[in-house]
């Protein structure tokens, strides 16, 4: 065994412990201490005795399940269309279906307010024509609506991949035995596409629970994430209830992760693919049906994009269907007067992505190529951030690093901008680990061995054989980390030390607090959408056109 593998393993584990295990452990620890410093469960008992918290827990669960439910209604048919049918406009469908993901959900929330809100475009028209007002955006319904429109592509993309991976002979066999139509779908297709569907649903559920921006923007606070945020920011870092809410959040998303894992392991099938998956050309009424359903779903999910674009150019837009006059001032504001939001975002997210690529590659290498003990532990810890809500991580950092001067930083880590880089790198690490792991798995070990056999040492082999072969996987993983960090709000909002250290997502949040700032906030939103689109486009190019690979788990 090579000593350097052990050393690498030890240092990576130490790093992960410091920035993942310790902060979360600290949150748990605080929630278990009574005033005298003894262990107690009394805070949790209190949590379940308070109607406010019980309701928040119930609402979080409910919103997660509702978003998965409504998202499935939109996503599963679209996934089936794109995996099984051949028709003009299919590429457009596949492209448009990834667009909801490029708009940060809290930006989408503002935009949807303008279109579907009480005095938004649609309701103004409804009032004018029929004298009715439909409260699309009120309370939990509004949150669920925004999140469904934002997150359903996760379900669609993962399901479509699963569908495409089903060996056609599985269905042909059933057909030759007399099974067809809906019955064939229920007995063969549906069970075989479950792995992708479950993965997509899990991802959606966890992200919904984690989403802090949407409820804050819609001013609906009775969910777990906003409760944790409000306790900590208004009552203070020492308020135990905030920590208890955090622990409940972690339990909820970790529990769903484990439950999904259990389902997945039961449903994990090796589907060997024979040639290209079968697609069927459709015509006439069926084609019309498919196209109108797709247009309806995608049309609705692109409403936020339209709203935010309009708002960013609007001089005045209130109580009117469309803005009454247009201006470029908002862009001047964010590009020239406060350019730091955009600059900060690029600096932080690119740094975080670079860190993640290096760490991800190293972890993947240790997992696949070393025989060290503790690889399972490493894998588990590196995956853990998927199930840690941003709020919880942020609270953990604040608590852990507070009042402890980091050498060279001239203050605690939490008062430098580097804490944001750390938070982003930590939260997105699972993506690059996964991407590198998948890439390295494709490189058969004999490719490396034959290089060594021909005289290349370990380092040369890595540089000339392994690295070139996995580089596209590494870059793709890095891009996913970059793109998703650009619109991160739930830990950002707590960790930004000073306003001029804030990234775009923070800027949008601040601007959106006042009616006057909405235009500039929207302009920032448009910039965020452009950055994310560019990153997503690049990822697709690298993955070779398999649409949406960036958002699969």
């Amino acid at each position: 065994m090579d000593w350097w593998q052990g050393a690498a393993m030890a240092s990576i584990l130490a790093l992960l412990a410091a920035f993942i295990l310790l902060p979360v452990g600290r949150v748990l620890w605080v929630s278990l201490l009574d005033e005298a410093g003894g262990l107690t469960l009394v805070h949790f008992v209190n949590f379940f005795h308070r109607p406010l918290f019980r309701e928040a827990l119930w609402n979080s669960l409910l919103s997660g399940l509702l978003v998965v439910f409504f998202g499935s209604l939109m996503a599963v048919p679209l996934a089936y269309f794109s995996a099984r049918y051949e028709f003009r406009g299919k590429v457009l469908l596949q492209t448009l279906a990834t667009l909801p993901l490029v708009i940060p959900p809290f930006v989408g929330a503002v935009a949807l307010q303008l279109i579907l809100g009480r005095s938004g475009m649609i309701n103004l028209l409804l009032m004018r024509w029929f004298d009715v007002n439909i409260p699309f955006m009120e309370g939990l319904a509004g949150v669920v609506l925004v999140q469904t429109l934002h997150f359903f592509p996760f379900i669609m993309l993962n399901t479509a991949v699963s569908l495409a991976n089903i060996d056609p002979s599985m269905e042909e066999m059933a057909e030759s035995m007399g099974c067809h139509g809906l019955r064939l779908f229920r007995r063969i297709t549906l069970p075989l596409m479950l792995p992708g569907y479950i993965a997509g649903s899990l991802l959606t559920f966890i992200r919904v629970i984690d989403d802090l921006g949407t409820p804050l923007m819609l001013n609906y606070k009775n969910l777990l994430a906003p409760q944790a945020y409000l306790r900590i920011t208004t009552i203070g870092i020492d308020d135990v209830d905030g920590y208890v809410v955090c622990v409940v959040l972690v339990v909820l998303s970790l529990g769903s992760l484990l439950a999904a894992r259990k389902c997945l392991s039961l449903a994990e099938y090796a589907t060997v693919q024979r040639g290209a998956p079968v697609t069927r050309a459709i015509h006439g009424r069926k084609r019309l049906l498919v196209l109108s359903f797709s247009a309806l779903v995608l049309g609705a999910s692109l409403l936020p994009h339209v709203g935010i674009a309009l708002l960013s150019f609007a001089k005045v837009w209130s109580f009117s269907v469309l803005p009454t006059s247009f201006t470029l001032d908002h862009y001047a504001e964010i590009l020239f007067r406060v350019p730091y939001f955009v600059q900060n975002t690029l600096l932080y997210t690119l740094l975080a992505a670079a860190l993640d690529v290096v760490l991800g590659a190293a972890i993947a290498f240790l997992l696949l190529r070393s025989r060290l003990r503790g690889r399972n532990l490493l894998d588990a810890i590196a995956t853990l951030p998927l199930a840690i809500p941003g709020v919880v991580l942020a609270v953990g950092y604040l608590r852990l690093f507070h009042g402890w001067d980091f050498p060279g930083a001239g203050g605690p880590l939490t008062s430098t901008w580097f804490i944001l880089v750390i938070a982003y790198a930590t939260r997105r690490l699972p993506y690059t680990v996964r991407a590198s792991y998948a890439a390295l798995q494709q490189v058969h070990v004999t490719l490396e061995e034959s290089a060594q056999n021909l005289g290349a040492n370990r380092l040369r082999t890595f540089a000339r054989i392994t690295l070139p072969l996995i580089s596209s996987g590494l870059v793709a993983g890095g891009l996913i980390a970059f793109v998703t960090s650009c619109v991160e709000l739930s830990s950002t909002i707590m960790l930004v030390p000073r306003i001029e250290m804030g990234p775009i997502s923070y800027g949008i949040y601040i601007y959106m607090q006042s009616a006057l700032g909405r235009g500039a906030g929207a302009a920032l939103g448009v910039v965020a959408i452009l950055i994310v689109s560019a990153g997503t486009y690049l990822t697709h190019r690298i993955f070779g056109g398999s649409t949406g690979s960036a958002f699969r788990v």
């Binding site: 060996d167 002979s169 599985m170 059933a174 030759s176 099974c179 075989l192 024979r274």
Partner: protein, 368 residues
């Protein structure tokens, strides 16, 4: 067990501008074991899938028991298919896999349980009902796939390279089992393979296919012993092909001068009608028909060609030689002469073979 007649009339299937198969006529009788044999891309799987109903022919008609089935979907044809990769459903247990077709036919629970049990016994897999396909070995998966198909008592069995995913030893075992099972049940079976040994061993009749056509159809013996075309001679078994000119005929013999200058006598008993002197012909001599002797020895057979051993491979029961003779490499498989010395690389030898073992390839088209 029911057994269907299968007839194809002028069947053709096109992919874009390319015909995968075209002008296929064939007639498969009840209980036959009929094999489509050919290299990959020859259209054999396309034909099988057309019979199963997964693709519909662009021209021609498929008949089952005399009635045309072109518009009938696969689920109403009542044919049992076994796929190359077995297509066992991973989310169902062995029992559920085998019971699937019976449930589709709305059989009673007790009847299903009984028939699944019988089917498993038939393939020697009793007691595996609760396992998942992934917990079975390749050979066991193959048996489950077969049981799943047989249990519905289909009108015909369609097999798409079912043995190609097994290792060599298992493949031979399964081949024998399949043979016995099919002959016992008497079920019409259509088999697709690129393995000529498999085709010869299993079939009652073989259709050798090349680039979308059937180039020869016949019993295994016809195909091997009297290949009609150069392609068949080379694809089925190993062969030594000589082109030459007929010098004279008579006394049931025909004398040919090959391009390399050797004189070869062929017996006419098997070949009819006899070609005229001066005509170009193609000769086929199987490697196992050739015997090797030392140059000085008296030839026990009528034909003799001198050569030099270019390579020899010891195969246990026989030796595989490559002999260089007149600028041509000739293959010869010689039974292991146990205890006696073997010819070595570089040895001068004489190849001898009987006139009865020289085949004239029938449809030889002059290519010069």
């Amino acid at each position: 067990m029911r057994a269907a007649e299968v007839r194809l009339e002028n069947v053709g299937k096109r992919y874009g501008d390319l015909w995968a198969v075209r002008q296929i006529h064939l007639d498969i009788a009840r209980g036959e074991f009929y094999t489509f044999l050919g290299p990959s891309g020859c259209g054999k799987t396309t034909l099988l899938r057309a019979i199963a109903g997964f693709i519909s022919p662009d021209e021609g008609t498929v008949y089952l028991d005399g009635s045309p089935v072109n518009p009938i979907p696969p689920w109403r044809r009542d044919l049992g298919m076994v796929f190359q990769n077995y297509a066992l459903w991973p989310h169902m247990s062995v029992f559920e896999n085998i019971a699937f077709g019976l449930r589709e036919r709305n059989l009673a629970r007790a009847e299903i349980a009984k028939r699944v049990k019988e089917a498993l016994a038939q393939v020697g897999l009793e007691g595996t009902e609760r396992r998942k396909p992934s917990q079975l070995s390749g050979g066991q998966q193959q048996r489950v796939a077969l049981a799943r198909t047989l249990v519905i008592q289909p009108r015909a069995l369609l097999l798409d390279e079912p043995l190609s995913n097994l290792d060599a030893k298992l493949r031979e075992e399964m081949r024998m089992e399949l043979l016995k099972l099919q002959r016992d049940l008497g079920i019409t079976t259509i088999y697709v393979t690129h393995d000529q040994e498999e085709a010869l061993a299993l079939s009652t009749r073989i259709a050798v296919m090349n680039s979308g056509r059937i180039v020869q159809e016949g019993r295994p013996r016809d195909i091997y012993e009297r290949p009609a075309e150069e392609f068949v001679a080379q694809f089925v078994g190993r062969s030594n092909l000589f082109t030459g000119v007929v010098l004279r005929t008579g006394d049931g013999m025909i004398e040919i001068r090959t391009c390399e200058g050797a004189l070869i006598r062929a017996s006419l008993s098997a070949q009819s009608p006899s070609p005229d002197p001066g005509k170009r012909v193609l000769l086929n001599i199987r490697p196992e028909a050739i015997e090797l002797i030392a140059p000085g020895e008296e030839p026990p057979r009528a034909n003799r060609i001198s050569g030099r051993v270019a390579a020899s491979a010891y195969q246990g029961s026989f030796l595989e030689y490559e002999i260089e003779a007149g600028g041509k490499a000739i293959k010869a498989n010689v039974t292991n002469p146990k205890g006696k010395p073997l010819f070595q690389r570089g040895d001068e030898v004489a190849l001898v073979f009987a006139p009865e073992d020289v085949g004239l390839v029938k449809d030889f088209r002059e290519s010069l």
